[in-house]
């Protein structure tokens, strides 16, 4: 948890003035064994100040490659990107001063100590020795690390190390924070804590946050805006709720017989925009406001002589959205690396 005392100490005034991240035709190819892999293909994106954005997609979709271009770690093959108004190729130094970065690994070296590492990062950002020391203590306290500050990082727990990573990323109060797969390897408790920190940082400081994840729950719970990336391209970009409501609820119904199911499906098909499928005595209906239509539908079917024996209404998940967009489930694809997929 980010204690409120620190949040109050950090200043929260924030001007929303145009996009802080803008990409145009951003492209990155990798050449491996004389084969060109198009990891990111012509990305056009705008992120406004104060947004909390999640890049969602399977491994190898191009999320991390995009993040690495935006954080100046790798140069684009083609296209341009500006972060905080600075070009990620021509003005790398200014971009680096403007952003916080929490990578997939640990920010603090394992043979170093937490306090020393935060201090070093503060000095790298040009804070005076005194300011750096004050800031270091502030962050250690904010992330509940004070008592672990003088132990070698290698001896810290996974959760403590992750808190240290975030603390180091926030050393200069960056207006933009990038997090690459922030909760990978964390236990559920620490994952929730981290998400809470990220949310508060965004809500209370107005920090623009861009994170990548292949956890649907994380994108759903955390991000105001979800950008679904697959094969190096944006395939959907909207609020999580909007992505899901566009897909609609699933109304699953069972009937006494296959005949009854077929008859019921015909009636159900009259609901506007509904997609209906029948399997044996089972009818699956997907419609934008399925949960609102369900009670009326049940009454209607009973009156028509084909009563529903069992009904289940399920709200759409982001996985359903991904499945609908790509024909693949993110849960399945996320377990396999699909660099080949990115090349296809």
């Amino acid at each position: 948890m980010l204690p409120s005392v620190v949040v109050m100490e950090m200043n929260t005034t924030h001007q929303a003035s145009g996009p802080v991240i803008r990409t145009a035709g951003l492209t990155r190819h990798f050449t491996r064994n004389k084969q060109t892999i198009e990891a990111v293909r012509g990305l056009d994106l705008e992120v406004a100040a104060g947004e909390l954005v999640a890049f969602l997609g399977p491994n190898g979709a191009g999320k991390s490659t995009t993040l690495r271009m935006l954080t100046t770690l790798i140069a684009p093959t083609a296209g341009t990107a500006t972060v905080a108004g600075f070009d990620v190729v021509r003005d790398r130094a200014a971009v680096r001063r403007s952003i916080g970065y929490v990578g997939q690994g640990n920010a603090a070296g394992h043979q170093y100590r937490g306090r020393d590492e935060i201090m070093c990062q503060a000095r790298a950002h040009g804070l005076s020795r005194r300011d750096a020391r004050t800031r270091t203590e502030e962050l250690l306290e904010a992330f509940d690390l004070t008592e672990h500050a003088d132990r070698p990082v290698a001896q810290l727990s996974g959760g403590q190390r992750r808190r240290l990573d975030v603390a180091i990323g926030l050393v200069q109060e960056p207006p933009i924070l990038f997090l690459d797969e922030p909760s990978t390897g964390l236990d559920p408790q620490n994952r929730v804590n981290l998400q809470e920190q990220v949310r508060r940082l965004n809500a209370e400081l107005g920090t623009t946050i861009v994170l990548t994840t292949h956890y649907l729950e994380e994108a759903d719970a955390l991000a105001g805006r979800v950008i679904v990336i697959d094969h190096g391209q944006v395939i959907a970009d909207d609020r999580a709720a909007a992505l899901k409501s566009a897909l609609g609820d699933l109304v699953a119904m069972d009937f006494a017989s296959a005949d009854a199911a077929r008859a019921a499906a015909e009636r159900a098909d009259r609901i506007e925009g509904a997609q209906v499928s029948v399997t044996g005595s089972h009818v699956a209906l997907r419609a934008a406001f399925g949960r609102d239509a369900a009670p009326g539908l049940v009454a209607d079917l009973a009156a028509a002589g084909t009563p529903v024996t069992r009904i289940e209404v399920v709200g759409p998940t982001l996985d359903d959205v991904f499945l609908d967009l790509t024909g693949r489930s993110l849960r399945e694809t996320s377990t396999t690396t699909s660099t080949e997929g990115a090349a296809a």
């Binding site: 200043n11 790798i74 603090a108 070296g109 043979q111």
Partner: protein
């Protein structure tokens, strides 16, 4: 450029509030910051330096007694400057292993995204090599002085100065190798081991090359470490033959210049 989320007119909410405002750091301060960070593990755990001393002390204890005394002095007098050079070679060439570890753990990536200049990152890390060089020379000399080794302090001090650029340059090469190897640290170890032993043997550290066949002598002449070891031997014996010392120092500077050039170039392309 300044990143300041705070409105300039607003008073600081708390007295202990740090003024946070990322700004460009001078080159020297940038290098010092990296160097200070590099020295922290050494300062916090001095035992790690002592651990690296095991190998040279084993050579001194188990190999030196096998060497016959030379007409000009004791075997130890001939062997110690070689062992000091060997320690410098080993220690500096290992330094990339620490970077390999940082590449795998992720802390290197954080530094790459930070405002620290790439060149500062390399130079700061390479300059670190001066510290183990000093400490290790100190320990070796302290250990052998009670035995048949005549300490010529002036010579030893100049000898260390001659080794400094070599250590820094070789450290830079080792870092460049680690950056090139990326997460595959076995590449680092393979190359490091393949390069180190020929350099060591061709410099005549363990055995003199006086009776060596011509091709071996030619190879030895191409090895910068040969000139450095010759200079160290003269200096540790308390003599200052200008040409030997100068060629040793020149060879050391060549390694430094080449190492830093390669290292900075490689570091600039690190991702």
């Amino acid at each position: 450029m300044s990143i300041d989320l705070a409105p300039t007119a607003a008073p600081a909410p708390a007295a202990r509030r740090a003024r946070v405002d990322s700004r460009q750091v001078g080159l020297l301060a940038d290098i010092v910051n990296v160097l200070v960070r590099e020295l922290q593990p050494v300062l916090r755990q001095p035992a790690s330096v002592l651990f690296a001393m095991v190998q040279p002390l084993v050579f001194l204890g188990l190999f030196a007694p096998l060497l016959p005394d030379t007409p000009t002095g004791s075997a130890l007098q001939w062997f110690v400057p070689g062992i000091v050079s060997m320690t410098a070679l080993m220690s500096a060439s290992f330094t990339g292993a620490n970077l390999s570890e940082e590449i795998i753990s992720g802390s290197f990536e954080r530094l790459l995204v930070s405002p620290v200049r790439r060149s500062s990152l390399l130079i700061g890390k390479a300059l670190r090599e001066m510290v183990p060089l000093l400490l290790q020379t100190l320990i070796i000399v302290a250990v052998v002085t009670p035995f048949s080794f005549d300490l010529h302090l002036g010579g030893v001090v100049v000898g260390v100065l001659v080794l400094v650029p070599f250590s820094v340059g070789l450290g830079a090469l080792s870092l460049a190798l680690a950056v090139a190897a990326k997460e595959q640290s076995w590449v680092f170890w393979t190359v490091q081991q393949t390069v180190i032993f020929p350099l060591l043997l061709l410099a005549g550290v363990l055995l003199p090359l006086d009776g060596a066949p011509g091709w071996l002598r030619t190879a030895s002449d191409l090895n910068p470490l040969s000139y450095i070891v010759d200079a160290e031997r003269a200096l540790f014996a308390g003599s200052f033959p200008a040409d030997t010392v100068l060629s040793g120092f020149a060879a050391s500077l060549v390694v430094a210049a080449f190492g830093l050039w390669v290292g900075v170039r490689r570091m600039n392309r690190a991702s």
